[in-house]
Symmetry: C2
Subunit: 192 residues, 2 copies
């Protein structure tokens, strides 16, 4: 009889722990993930992709940030070592493109990554070195180190430098009907 | 008294359902994800990244496959519409690079996406059209449609074509010490 109560108490605790863990993980994901904007608003969708992602492809897969969490300004900043070819290439030929996708956010449901309802954005332009002692260098540092706390401890002797992509062109797929028309001006200064 | 039993039965069922759902999801993920090879084996690591990923960046984010699940041959195949710039650009200038990363597999733990312990691979070479009526075309179709079942239903009037990346160079980061030396021959014919 006592054992029945023990089983009940054990089950209560187990259910509580399992459900709490599940809700906790979901809450953490929700905190990171703002809801996806309406596909009719191309600028907001593109800004959402850049704000919510924390890595993308700049020829190689790299970390990036466009600002403090949920306070991004749309320009991707990078922290690349001079030892890496991406940074060395940028010194020679600054033309670059940088791609992010909704698939990396986990919010495409069952849609295939290439399905047009699963949004993807490619920014192309020039990769520019950012002076770490400038105001923009401070912004880049705060933007990157807040989203990538591990960067604070990356080795000094690897000669890490701040870079940004100076955006010249945007290619956004979100929903059917081909790439969305979107200017750099619309992207950098979207209507609220 | 009956109600205590009802509560116990309800809790039993609830615990069972929650735990089953959790184990089912983990099993599905494990089935997809083969264990990561030893960082000392560059070819195996590169082949693992290509075999286990199902999307990557070919300037834009795209779906791909290198063979039937866990039977890949290392060459990425794509199913691109002629309406899309990636395919149109390939017709003009075939030089392309294609990037995949372990971060997309979810097995990097707490490591930052740019941390060298989180493997990343960029294949560069030429994007080539594959004749859909050839033997290779049949291979590409089986490879893509098995990993991306949605592709079977993609609209005929969008003029989808099979492409492959003819690999000329590999850039693999896995663990510390910079890019791993890895030839195309080593990648395509790894020692078992």
């Amino acid at each position: 009889m006592g054992s029945k109560w023990e089983v009940s108490v054990f089950l209560y605790v187990l259910v509580f722990v399992v459900i709490e863990a599940s809700i906790g993980a979901q809450a953490a994901r929700r905190a990171l993930l703002q809801p996806k904007p309406d596909p009719a608003d191309a600028a907001a969708t593109a800004r959402w992709l850049v704000s919510q992602n924390f890595w993308g492809t700049l020829r190689h897969v790299v970390s990036f940030s466009d600002g403090l969490p949920n306070k991004g300004q749309g320009i991707p900043y990078f922290y690349l070592t001079n030892l890496d070819v991406t940074a060395r290439n940028a010194m020679k030929d600054a033309r670059s493109s940088f791609a992010v996708s909704e698939i990396a956010l986990g919010s495409c449901g069952k849609a295939d990554p290439q399905n047009p309802t699963c949004a993807k954005l490619t920014l192309s332009g020039k990769l520019k070195l950012v002076d770490k002692n400038s105001k923009e260098g401070e912004f880049a540092k705060a933007a990157l180190f807040s989203k990538h706390p591990e960067m604070k401890g990356w080795p000094n002797d690897h000669d890490f430098l701040f870079f940004k992509l100076e955006i010249e062109n945007l290619f956004l797929i979100d929903w059917f009907g081909g790439a969305k028309p979107l200017t750099v001006e619309q992207y950098l200064h979207p209507r609220k």
